[in-house]
C-alpha cells in the first residue's frame, strides 16, 4: 500500500535519494549499492528497508541474493527529481535570456 507520508520521509535523506538514483540505472544487490557510499552493509540495509516500507523499491529472490529495483512509486519519485533538475536549469536559462536581451540593447560595437 502506497503511503505518501512514508514516501516523503523516505526521500528526506540524501543517501536514500542517491540509492534511488542508482537503482534508476537498473537492479542492484546490497553489495553493489553499499559500494559507492562507504557505509556498512547493515546501514545500507536499514536504508533499503525504509525505501521498501515506503513502497519505493521492491526486492527479488535469486539464490542467496536479494537484488532491489525501483517500484512504480520509486520511478515516479525519480521523474519528480528530474523535473526539479530541469526547473533549476530552466531558471538559469531564463536568466540568460535576460542577460542576452541586455547585451543586445547596450552594445552596438563589436569586440574581437
Amino acid at each position: 500500500m502506497y503511503d505518501l507520508d512514508d514516501a516523503f520521509s523516505a526521500l528526506a535523506d540524501p543517501t536514500r535519494r542517491a540509492i534511488l538514483a542508482r537503482l534508476a540505472t537498473g537492479e542492484a544487490t546490497v553489495n553493489e549499492l553499499a559500494e559507492p557510499f562507504e557505509m556498512t552493509q547493515p546501514a545500507i540495509s536499514q536504508h533499503l528497508k525504509v525505501l521498501e516500507d515506503a513502497g519505493l523499491i521492491v526486492r527479488r529472490v535469486e539464490g542467496t541474493k536479494r537484488p532491489r529495483r525501483l517500484a512504480k512509486a520509486g520511478i515516479e519519485a525519480i521523474d519528480q527529481w528530474l523535473a526539479m533538475l530541469r526547473k533549476a536549469l530552466e531558471a538559469n536559462y531564463d536568466r540568460l535570456d535576460e542577460v542576452l536581451a541586455g547585451m543586445g540593447k547596450h552594445k552596438k560595437g563589436k569586440k574581437r
Binding site: R17, W81, L82, L96
Partner: protein
C-alpha cells in the same frame, strides 16, 4: 512553452538543448565572460556566485563558487580543453562536496538558428553509476530547496 530539453543517452551521456533569441556570438560570450556568467548560472532562487574564475583559453582554469547566503555552498573546478569562438566549447568539470566527483566532460555547441542560437550541451560521465550520482546531486539542490520551502510552510 518550455524551450529546453534534457535527456539521457546511452549509459553515460546527458544531453541538454536550449534555443536563445540572440546570435551564437552573444550566447558564447555569456558562457565565457565571468561578469555575465555571474548573472545567470545560479541554480535555485536565492543562490549567488561570489567567485567566478573563467580563463577562456585551451588549458585555462574554471572555478565557480556558489553560496545560498545561509552558510550553504559548494564549488566546481574545471579546465578548458578546446574553444572555437563562437561555435564550440569543450571543458571538464567536477563538483567538490567537498570530495571531488569524477570528471564530467562537457561539449557545448552554439549553432545559428534563424536570428537566434540552438545550444546543445553534451555531458559525458565516466560510467552509469557516476551519471546517476550526478543527477542525484543536481536533484539534491532542487529537493533541498523544496524541503526548505516546506519547512517554511509548516
Amino acid at each position: 512553452m518550455s524551450k529546453m530539453t534534457l535527456k539521457t543517452e546511452g549509459d553515460t551521456h546527458i544531453i541538454v538543448t536550449r534555443r536563445f533569441a540572440a546570435p551564437p556570438e552573444a550566447v558564447y560570450r555569456a558562457h565565457t565572460d565571468p561578469k555575465l556568467i555571474q548573472k545567470w548560472l545560479l541554480g535555485p532562487e536565492g543562490w549567488t556566485m561570489p567567485v567566478c574564475i573563467n580563463e577562456a583559453k585551451a588549458g585555462g582554469k574554471i572555478r565557480y563558487e556558489w553560496t545560498n547566503g545561509k552558510g550553504g555552498g559548494f564549488h566546481i573546478t574545471g579546465e578548458y580543453l578546446e574553444l572555437e569562438p563562437y561555435n564550440r566549447i569543450v571543458h571538464v568539470e567536477r563538483m567538490h562536496l567537498p570530495d571531488p566527483t569524477p570528471d564530467n566532460h562537457i561539449e557545448t555547441r552554439f549553432e545559428a538558428d534563424g536570428a537566434g542560437t540552438l545550444m546543445t550541451m553534451r555531458m559525458t560521465l565516466p560510467d552509469g553509476k557516476t551519471r546517476a550520482a550526478m543527477l542525484a546531486t543536481g536533484m539534491e539542490r532542487g529537493m533541498e530547496a523544496s524541503y526548505v520551502r516546506l519547512e517554511g510552510m509548516l
